[in-house]
Symmetry: C2
Subunit: 201 residues, 2 copies
DNA sequence: CGGCGTTTTGAGAGAGCTCAACATCGGTGG
DNA sequence: CCACCGATGTTGAGCTCTCTCAAAACGCCG
């Protein structure tokens, strides 16, 4: 179930979980970085504060996501982590992880692979945000999220969630999907969307 | 000079460089993944093709950037890499890198630290792109790129480059900077921008 | 001097956001 | 069993903001 499921039993057993209420703070900027985390459910905002105390949002970590990985290689956290909604996180002690990496290089490599995969996904997302047109952006997203046939994308959450993920309002997303379907570019079927003939992206 | 400067001499010596003309292809989707790359100068587009042959841009790698790191853990490349302009890349043989990781876990850890840092930067960039308002986006970017004083950001390239980096047209950026300066939110001084009193971001 | 890239300002249009109303569905409690 | 409520899905109308296209001043370098 966890993205870190490959970890040896010794490390996995050293992990714990922590429940957070909405608004509860997991760690503060400047705290000693002793753990990294994975969101089991809920949502956490990572926020940095400027010298004059203004918040600068860095990221929102969602279910299934690993975060504060940079803490592995830094002494202190560089931002605050606050639960946006009631959440549960899995807590991995940094020492144990690093020890496991040293003990077995294949563990280190798998972890690197996870990081490399995240980089890939994030780059694609940045690229996606460069696309202004709602329809082109939606098609880009769908094209990158097709299943094995390379044509069909399955929606796992609501359209509201999808809209947030690709950076559109849900109204704009509804309208865009409607227009794309009417024009024959896609076909909807419950939670599945099939790309018919993708026009120039 | 290289982001991978920490690598042991044996690995560094095993790296080579390759010059690319504009439009020249570095690797193809499906090619065996034997190398990872670093852009020394120029710009490369990473593009994936859908089943019906339409290009889906994944990323644009710029000077100083490491790319195709995922190749370390995959058998084949998952996209094409094409030079947008005449470019030079440094070529690291995957085998040598992986061997170095296994030989010395501190090398592996430094590489992980680089990956983790990239993830951080990319997440911040995604977050930044979620901001619609040009002025808020500019302030967000400046706040995350201040020097040690936490107030002053130094521009390394032209404003045209900055505009592309934060996803605005250069005209919009000029106007926004002008307005911010007039309103007293920032102060410009050649290539330095000082944040005066950051309003709510 | 004559280009070329950067910086700057202007006017207009289009696209997505905002606000608003409404239908639908599933769960909850009286 | 039904009324109510919240989340999801959908559509409409107007507005704002950035993009686009255009033009021009500026500095730099050959």
């Amino acid at each position: 179930m966890s993205a870190l499921g490959f970890l040896p039993a010794t490390v996995r057993k050293s992990s714990t979980t922590r429940e957070l209420d909405a608004g509860e703070i997991l760690f503060h900027q400047g705290d000693r970085a002793l753990w990294i985390y994975e969101v089991e459910h809920g949502r956490l905002r990572l926020v940095r504060y400027t010298v004059d105390g203004h918040p600068v949002p860095l990221h929102t970590a969602r279910a299934g996501e690993l975060f504060a990985e940079a803490a592995l290689f830094a002494g202190t956290y560089r931002c605050d982590a606050v639960a946006s909604v009631p959440s549960r996180v899995r807590v991995y002690p940094k020492r144990e992880l690093l020890a496991a990496f040293r003990r077995d290089s294949t563990v280190a490599e798998r972890f690197m692979a996870i990081l490399a995969g995240q980089i890939h996904a994030l780059r694609a997302r940045v690229q996606e945000r460069n696309i202004r047109s709602a329809s082109a952006r939606v098609l880009h997203h769908l094209a990158l999220n097709t299943g094995k046939d390379g044509r069909t994308a399955r929606l796992d959450g609501s359209l509201v969630d999808l809209a947030a993920e690709i950076g559109l309002t849900h109204e704009a997303l509804y309208r865009t999907l409607g227009r794309l379907e009417k024009s024959g570019a896609i076909e909807r079927n419950g939670s599945e969307i099939m790309l018919k003939k993708s026009p120039g992206l």
